[in-house]
């Protein structure tokens, strides 16, 4: 039975997410993505330090938390607005996808998207991205990443319904400000979450996020 979602959205409980990257692997596996193309990425945001106290002991404030991010099928999608060909399009449900018949591979959407959602596939010579596993949704299934998550930290549902349960304004580092694109992505704040533009911490796995 198909799940009738008015506006599909992902929800991530960052408190529960262990950064295992099963979601990332499941996505790559289902969509047969080559090396370097990752529709879903797990970002490790880490920081803090060990401080030596006068008595010779140490105190630390190190932290790390994970963010599993794919396309957020934004309500104000900058990729759709930027795309010169209309290949990047949004359907009536709000799902943003790429039409391979139209994409010229200019990569302008890649420049614009603050979530790195559009990914260039060098084999195809075109942009590709998460389409919310539209085929699975149509037969009543869950997106591959959600189905694979061992801790159930990653979930999906209707944006309006999720927004009644979780704060839809939540944002923390390294996520960009929500008003830039109005993402359909809800979050549960991790314990050590840092504010949006913090300088305390950084992405600890940039190579993994970019090249996996």
């Amino acid at each position: 039975m198909a799940i009738a979602l008015k506006r599909p959205a992902f929800f991530l409980d960052s408190q529960t997410c262990t950064g295992c990257k099963t979601c990332m692997v499941a996505c790559k596996d289902k969509n047969n993505l080559p090396l370097g193309v990752r529709w879903r990425r797990v970002v490790e945001f880490a920081g803090g330090q060990w401080i030596r106290l006068p008595d010779g002991t140490f105190q630390q404030n190190v932290f790390a938390y994970y963010l599993s991010v794919s396309c957020n099928h934004c309500q104000d999608p900058i990729c759709v607005q930027s795309c010169p060909t209309t290949a990047m399009n949004q359907d009536e449900q709000g799902i943003v996808s790429v039409d391979p018949q139209k994409c010229v591979g200019c990569r302008y959407c890649e420049w614009a998207c603050p979530y790195s959602a559009p990914q260039f596939n060098p084999v195809l010579g075109q942009m590709t991205k998460c389409d919310f596993c539209r085929d699975d949704l149509a037969i009543g299934g869950a997106p591959a990443c959600v189905a694979a998550c061992p801790t159930r930290a990653l979930q999906f549902g209707d944006y309006d319904e999720l927004a009644t349960l979780y704060d839809s304004k939540t944002v923390f580092a390294p996520l960009p400000a929500r008003d830039l694109t109005q993402p359909c992505f809800l979050l549960c704040i991790p314990k050590d979450a840092k504010p949006e533009l913090t300088v305390d911490g950084g992405i600890a796995n940039p190579e993994e996020v970019r090249n996996a």
Binding site: V43, I78, P84, T85, A112, P114, F120, G202, I203, P206
Partner: protein
Amino acid sequence: MHNWSLVWFTLLAQGSVGVVWLSVMGAWIGGAREPGSLLWPMSLALVLSGLGIIGATAHLAKPRLAPNALRNFRQSWLSREVFLAQAFAGMQLLLVLLELWGVQTLFWARGVVACLIGGLALFAMTRVYLLRTVPVWNTMATPLEFVGSTLLLGGGFIALLTVLIPQDHSNREPFLLVAVISIGLGLLLKLTSIIPAIKALTSAKSQTWYPAKSQSINTGWVLAARTLFSLLGLSSMILLLVQEAGPLWLWAGLGLAFFTACEVLGRWRFYMIYRRVGL
């Protein structure tokens, strides 16, 4: 980022706009209305536009689908840029043909229309980079830099063309005048773009951007090299103005070469400093 094709396209297209603006202005100041007076500048502008469009097409992973880039004119500044760059090249071709055939009808009107289309293409080209998610580009520095390049390269090309085409001194003077004024204005705009550019870059360094902030952003040497090239270009132009005889083409050629080197470095740096908010 491998954006040499975009460095090529933007500089050639901006140079082409500059050549059209300055040639029409030079012809207007000099009152030149004899048939064919704009043939050489318009031909040069057309060659620059054509080469630029070839470069832009080479940037695409699927060049055979390039016409699709005109589909989103309603929303996308990139689509508008593509359309206007091609309309500008089309207008230049028309002007070259009219000059070849010696048609004088609506001489000024068609010149002004070409200038306007060029201006619109330049505006669209600038807007392409004013992305709200790329604060390092989304500053006043981008339009200042692009208009500056248009004036600087346009001035360089017109100065060289003016001394290469055999013509008497009185015909040459107005074109040289607009070229030198344009170069001066271009350099001034470049100078004023430095502060907003540095501010944007400093702000980008202190925040969590993509790529990760651990990746250093240090292109200070580019500023030093560009200053040197600008000064050398300016010196060549001064020598061109004061030298009544001698190899004028040499000074004009050197001036254009130095300004081009300055612009290529600057545009390369422009693409290198790309930093986006978010992940």
